[in-house]
Symmetry: none
Subunit: 225 residues, 4 copies
DNA sequence: TATGAATGAGTTTTCATTCAT
DNA sequence: AATGAATGAAAACTCATTCAT
């Protein structure tokens, strides 16, 4: 049942920009949070071990409780951080400056790339769904950010309809669900997929093809005629 | 002391067609398996509790070990059962007898309905992916099933291309992934989706719309022109 | 802060009436309860250690949780038992068969003797008061039993007044409080008392004198003239 | 995260007669001591939390150790302070100037009022008894105080016997114990008492009646005939 | 075949205290 | 004199599994 998973040497773990100071609460917190992100996403909430998280940290288990109160508190902090990260990036796309079809393409590509690259995020969302989203519900940050994606899509659709290139009967939230599904699933279910078909969806060649395919599918779906 | 969720008296739990015999190993096993299916799919492998499963059973914890060896053994048995169940149904579609577009529509609708109805299945697949699909790998039922779906899709595509209605550059496995994604995601991620947008994807009205939308998207994707 | 208090070899601990059977839930429970009574009364709820209780038991810590759910659950069970014990004895006095003054004397003597002998009980009541009686409040057994003492006193007072030996303006509950105070305090506060005056109130000579004194004080208080 | 009881802004907490100076060791100490008094008396020695005390203080946990060495050191300081406080008041009674019965009445009333008003004191004595009075033993203030009460009672009894109003066979220490019991118990055990009988002994009406009752009981006890 | 009691090894959490600034 | 971060040791509690009947 135990599985000494090697810490994936991701970009997360340590940023030795300067000599590590002895007393640096911000760094301590970030360090704990980064390790916890990996552990929770790898093992789930129930499966993760506080001891294991602490061990991979530069501090002790005690600090984890000092800053985050409990295992669940830490898990919530991880969710918060991870959702904060995607929001930040999403803002920089400036999709409103693009022509509708181009904008839609860019949005889908961004969504694809983000999920493809941030597996931790995908896994954490999956895990949250196993818990009925009860932890995410408490994060106020959560609801706001989703509103902004929908706004972006609504704008695109509106402009596309006006320009005569998109059909008029597409609902923004439904479309968002569709895009999400296509980008999320191939990451979240890549193990069963790999086992079933002997194809690893994260292989570069497949990855590129899927990217095109999804953009294509979405554009065909919204396009007039 | 926690009583939590009383076993929903779903079609799963008990079928007292005949008077319950005193010692009925098969029934005991089935009973354990049904309860375990609910628990594992609700809580995950790490999150499920052997005590809780036993408590909701008509028998005792000891029997659980007697028949299934261990918690993991029980989990594997659950996976096996759930995959066995799905295969049965898929045979009755006779998609090969339908005209390509009709066949594709029917396949998508079947896939949609199946996921929509079998949430336990969807959750267990999700859970398996959290564990890197390591338990599912051993199940023969798993590989067989997937092979047959691909075969069906390949046939459809081929016939569609011949008939001049489908384009020629669609890969069957990719298409299967696309259909899966669209049908799976709205079930697997319905909690975070519901929290984010205040919409429950399992609401009848939304359900019907999604069904049409997905069929539409897939047909637009494969259609020539 | 730690104090390896020797288990007082009281009448509580083990009753080897018959050879100890390996599987005897009742005995296991009783054994845990007896040890817990000593520990909680010696150390308080916060001060008692589950490990320490378990160690002095014939079983393991796990059984303690198996039967009593939590440290607090065990503490409540101890309170319940201890209050049950006193009730049982109180029934056997048959004070209603005695002439008022005699009855009052017997009641006071019983109360005195009981407190004098059951220090665990006295300490536990003290400890409960430190917790604002919040644990005792949940015990249904608690309220009933107190009603019966008051009934006894009311009867005595009534009969005494009718017989012209007691004055009429004494409230039964107030009188009960008075008797309790006199019998309880010398046990509960015997350490500070001993330190203050170099006298141990549990010394046989003092004990006898206090007994007489308290009976005397109560009778003088209720007596007419 | 628990905020629990905000320090009741009782007479204890702060006396900002003059503008609060930046560094005022005496005030800091007093502030810590006052908060600690409340916490220890509310929770007991084992139950009180250093963190909680510190949080309710105007300063930090470190200062607590700076001034009082340890949790136990702080507890002892609290006991010392509380005992110091009581002595002051008792001098002003001038019981020796009163006629014996009057003096006895006044002494009982004072004792009653003091306990009724200083619940912290009562609780701390209770707590000390749970610890076998081991901390109080070291306090000089403690022994002195008790010696003086006994002296007062002895005087009263002597003068009463001489005057022919008190009986001759009453022991001063026993009488002190009796008075203490009656005044102490109704405060110390008021929670279990309240739960048992649905009567709060600290209610004004009950309080007044108990006061009279106790004076009455004591006078009846010492009175000749 | 079936059962309720029992358990060892872990897992989360708490607490008084000290360190670096 | 004062502070917030840090900590080791211990405490409460949980869990999958096995034993005796």
């Amino acid at each position: 049942m135990k599985k000494a998973l090697k810490a994936a040497p991701s970009d997360l773990n340590e940023a030795p920009t300067e000599a590590r100071r002895k007393y640096d609460p911000e760094q301590t917190k970030r360090n704990i949070l980064d390790v916890a992100t990996q552990e929770f996403s790898a093992m789930g909430l129930a499966g993760a071990r506080v001891d294991q998280i602490a061990e991979r940290t530069n501090t002790t288990k005690r600090m984890l409780y000092y800053y985050f109160e409990s295992k669940e508190g830490l898990y919530e902090a991880v969710l918060d951080k991870v959702y904060g990260d995607i929001r930040t990036l999403e803002q920089d796309l400036h999709i409103d400056e693009l022509e509708p079809q181009e904008g839609m393409k860019k949005l889908v590509e961004f969504t694809f790339d983000y999920h493809d690259k941030h597996r931790d995020f995908v896994r954490l969302v999956t895990i949250e769904n196993i818990h009925g989203a009860k932890y995410i519900e408490q994060l106020k940050s959560f609801k706001n950010r989703n509103a902004s994606v929908i706004k972006t899509i609504e704008d695109l659709l509106e402009r596309g309809v006006s320009a005569g290139v998109f059909r008029a009967d597409v609902d923004a939230i439904d479309l968002h669900l569709m895009i999400s599904a296509l980008c999320f699933h191939r990451v979240s279910n890549r193990y069963t997929f790999g086992t079933a078909f002997g194809r690893d969806p994260s292989h570069p060649r497949l990855r590129a093809r899927h990217r095109e395919m999804i953009v294509d599918a979405v554009l065909r779906f919204v396009r007039k005629e």
